[in-house]
């Protein structure tokens, strides 16, 4: 996956978190969800965004491993390649 595409995925994940109510300036690629105002329902919705927009199936076990914005981006990159 090219850097440009990775950047686009990063942007999408951050915009999703902002949609969930997070302040944009708080969300960085290395932000841990537990430090942000992100809860389990938000993560369910993030999984749905990934499934719908990238055509990847996300299991509960996958979600358990995704703890940061970067984790989510890496997950999409890995599954798409």
């Amino acid at each position: 996956m090219t850097t440009a595409i990775k950047d686009q995925v990063t942007e999408r994940v951050i915009s999703a978190l902002v949609e969930f109510g997070e302040e944009p300036e708080n969300v960085k690629p290395d932000s841990r969800f537990e430090e942000l105002d992100i809860d389990s329902l938000d993560l369910v919705e993030l999984a749905q965004v990934i499934e719908d927009e990238y055509g990847i199936e996300v299991t509960d076990a996958d979600m358990d491993k995704i703890k940061t914005v970067q984790d989510a981006v890496d997950f999409v990159a890995e599954r798409q390649s």
């Binding site: 902002v18 949609e19 109510g21 329902l41 919705e45 749905q48």
Partner: protein, 283 residues
């Protein structure tokens, strides 16, 4: 105090930028000839809507501008006449045949209604069956079938529509429970367990998704004049009516009016509630 609603509205518009997703905004696709009916985006799905409470609810929601999926399991003619009566007043509806207790059929129905009418933003879990018997002799088959149609199907459909509702930051789910879920009625252990289960499901899901502009409520009808209860009312109705402060049975329209309210924008701050519609029977 209007703070709650104001904050919710701001959040919706500022953070999602999808104010147009709110169903109040007219959509040209659902343009209606009748100006009394205000078209909305998305649709309402009412299960078990070929007659009784479901049919009355489908009509009431259509009057409020919702395109309605009219689900039926066997009574196709009944469902089609509900659709026709909605079209007569300038509304939009389609009949959807599916046994909601059968997972595959329910899934197919959800996909079909979303494709034809748009995302399901209103779900009324009304489909119900009874298979009465005293607990000492109530078989597994009667137990399982009643739980499957009345409770499990409602859960699966709820699960299926929450995604679209969360995306829209709007949703209304109304579960049709029963007075039997609130007070005992010998001979209906399976039905009562399912209807009480619906109340717990209602409250739990309400708490889970309330932040997304989705409300989940229940109505608990008492003795309502439908085909399901006609036998009761023609047989020992006198004794039963004595237990109802109103001293009469209710009509499907009286229940539909309450569901219509819970779906309306006016009920935006009602969540996880159980509204008895029973002439005071559970009071």
């Amino acid at each position: 105090m209007s703070m709650g609603g104001g904050v919710a509205r701001l959040r919706h518009q500022d953070q999602t930028g999808r104010a147009g997703a709110r169903p109040r905004i007219p959509s040209s696709a659902a343009a209606s000839e009748d100006p009394r009916i205000k078209p909305r985006t998305g649709c309402a799905l009412v299960t078990g809507a070929s007659r009784g409470i479901g049919a009355a609810t489908a009509r009431a929601l259509a009057e409020d501008g919702w395109a309605v999926g009219v689900n039926y399991s066997r009574d196709r003619v009944g469902a089609e006449s509900v659709v026709a009566s909605i079209e007569e007043i300038g509304g939009r509806a389609i009949a959807l045949g599916a046994d909601v207790g059968a997972e595959e059929q329910a899934d197919e129905m959800l996909a079909s209604v979303a494709e034809r009418l748009g995302p399901v933003l209103v779900l009324v879990n009304n489909a119900g069956v009874t298979s009465d018997g005293l607990s000492a002799r109530l078989g597994d088959e009667a137990w399982n079938r009643v739980l499957e149609v009345n409770l499990t199907a409602a859960f699966r459909l709820t699960r299926g529509v929450l995604g679209p509702m969360m995306r829209e930051r709007f949703g209304r789910i109304v579960n049709v429970s029963s007075v039997v879920g609130l007070r005992a009625n010998p001979g209906q252990a399976n039905y009562a367990a399912a209807k009480a289960g619906l109340i717990a499901l209602t409250r739990t899901v309400a708490a889970e998704v309330g932040r997304r502009g989705i409300t989940v409520n229940a109505v608990a009808p008492g003795l309502i004049e439908t085909e399901l209860t006609r036998e009761i009312t023609s047989n020992g109705a006198d004794g039963l009516l004595g237990e109802i402060p109103a001293r009469r049975s209710g009509s499907p329209e009286e229940v539909a009016a309450c569901i219509r309210f819970l779906v309306s924008d006016e009920a935006s701050y009602v969540n996880g509630a159980v509204l008895p519609v029973d002439g005071g029977m559970a009071a």
